[in-house]
């Protein structure tokens, strides 16, 4: 095959397939914003340091600025536009609204996508850098404010809304737990 600098790719975004031709240099972030008009995902540093561009790829939070679009095929991508169920906001979105988890809002889509994944990672029993005992026999750590701050540390907020962000994530996590237990009972 002769070298080529562009490809036709099919991206699965929020349950919808999009086929487009991309220069290989195009990041998933730029494809979302510039080509597919999904501008909820924000470009902050474009270097993987601020978390504003966080989306979910196969359910895992990912910085879309370091993810090449051409390498994003055959993966399920969820952006902030795809986390609500119709008119019903995701519990994390509702908690950010109710508890003022933002000021200017620029980092918020990334914060929300990240928080959704943090709650799932914690529910799956993943330890963090502040977990005292990471051995499986120690059991999963409680999702304390310290745990939330550590797990959310890849999302910077220039306005400094961190206090409310931690509260919003804690409330959404508690609601998710109650919901799961309710469904199980």
């Amino acid at each position: 095959m002769a070298p080529s600098t562009s490809s036709t790719v099919t991206l699965d975004i929020n349950g919808e397939k999009h086929t487009l031709s991309v220069d290989h240099r195009t990041t998933l972030l730029d494809a979302l914003r510039e080509r597919l008009d999904l501008t909820g995902t924000k470009k902050g540093c474009d270097q993987g340091q601020c978390g504003a561009c966080t989306v979910l790829v196969d359910g895992r939070r990912t910085v879309s600025c370091l993810q090449l679009a051409v390498a994003s095929q055959e993966r399920e991508i969820t952006t902030v536009e795809g986390v609500a169920e119709g008119e019903r906001l995701h519990p994390v979105q509702q908690a950010f609204l109710d508890l003022d988890g933002f000021q200017c809002g620029y980092c918020t889509p990334g914060q929300i996508c990240s928080a959704i994944a943090v709650i799932e990672e914690h529910a799956a029993g993943w330890p963090s850098a502040v977990t005292e005992d990471v051995r499986p026999e120690a059991g999963p750590p409680p999702l304390t404010p310290e745990e939330i701050r550590e797990r959310m540390s890849g999302n910077l907020c220039r306005c400094g809304a961190y206090v409310q962000i931690v509260q919003a994530v804690a409330r959404a996590a508690a609601e998710t737990r109650t919901g799961t237990e309710g469904a199980a009972a």
Partner: protein, 330 residues
């Protein structure tokens, strides 16, 4: 960014064939370091061979209680693995101490070992750097070097290796497996990184075009009581200014077995073999821990602005080993 060809490899031998002997081609794993370096022009590949979807994403038993970790296992999956957390807890702690949740979901084990230094002169293409542009000089020696190497460096390069994972893997005698055009091979992590000397641009002993396929952790009962402690300039999401991976087996107040490796002090994760020899068979007390650290750090050659690292590492060794000894006494 330079334009590039992109290929996705179907299998390991196909990946190696696609890369071939092309010095302008690179393997793409999670991309968290490579794509960033391509944006800044430090890396200018003409072809990327995507290896992320290769079937190297499993963690499997490797005889007598060891584990084999595939090269495309993500940092997140490595850290969360029950077997790793149970047998090598310091490895989970090291991985979780690095980067952010998002980056750990993307980054791979193979890529972690091959990530490049974050030295500000290396990442700035307008500056000289012997690692990026051989022979152009090292401004860090006279310039900004507060987070540069104190062990094993040379006048040609004083950059540090940024990996946390690699420090724990080094303490536990991990062995890197690779595939090259000449077939499969293995390199103990102790021999994986080359001495800096006057060739800082040559970083590993991997044959040209080789693809890392996995990392094997040999059985190490001592690792069940292990810790990773990282010091950084903010509480989270920053590279280390010094770190220690340690494992300790104490019985009757005497050190039976000890593993010790340092991070952020050298061009590679630094196995503190001198300290280990001093400690083995010695009383498990803070006094001996300090003497062992001093023996290891006797070779330190700090620059004007990073002498603090020698004291920092000494204190870290004493603190972490003391905690492990207390835990053993409980």
């Amino acid at each position: 960014m330079r334009e590039f060809d992109y290929r996705r490899a179907d299998d390991v031998s196909g990946a190696v064939a696609l890369l071939g002997a092309d010095p302008d081609a690179r393997y793409l794993g999670g991309g968290t370091n490579l794509v960033d370096l391509m944006k800044t022009g430090v890396e200018r590949p003409a072809r990327l061979v995507d290896v992320r979807t290769l079937p190297l994403d499993r963690i499997e038993p490797a005889g007598d209680g060891g584990l084999r970790v595939g090269a495309t296992v993500t940092n997140s999956d490595l850290a969360a693995h029950p077997g790793i957390r149970h047998r090598y807890p310091a490895l989970t702690q090291a991985v979780l101490a690095g980067a952010s949740g998002q980056l750990r979901n993307m980054a791979t084990v193979g890529g972690n070992l091959l990530q490049r230094t974050r030295c500000g002169y290396f990442t700035d293409v307008t500056k000289p750097c012997n690692k990026r542009a051989p022979g152009s000089g090292c401004p860090a020696v006279q310039g900004e070097h507060h987070n540069h190497a104190v062990l094993g460096a040379s006048e040609h390069c004083v950059a540090v290796h940024p990996s946390d994972m690699g420090v724990a893997l080094t303490a536990f005698d991990a062995v890197v497996s690779y595939e090259s055009a000449d077939g499969p091979g293995e390199l103990p992590l102790a021999d994986f990184y080359l001495p800096v000397g006057d060739t800082p641009h040559r970083e590993t002993a991997l044959p040209p075009g080789a693809l890392i396929t996995g990392v094997t952790l040999p059985p190490a009962p001592v690792a069940a009581r292990s810790r990773y402690r990282k010091v950084r300039e903010r509480a989270s999401y920053a590279f280390a200014i010094g770190s220690v991976a340690a494992a300790l087996d104490v019985s009757g107040g005497v050190v039976r077995d000890v593993r010790l490796a340092f991070g952020a002090v050298a061009s590679r994760p630094w196995r503190a073999g001198i300290a280990e020899r001093v400690l083995t068979g010695a009383p498990a007390t803070a006094e001996y821990f300090a003497a062992a650290a001093d023996a290891e750090l006797a070779a330190a050659r700090p620059l004007p602005d990073n002498g603090y690292k020698v004291t920092l590492m000494r204190n870290l060794v004493v603190a972490v080993l003391s905690e492990l000894a207390e835990e053993a006494a409980r």
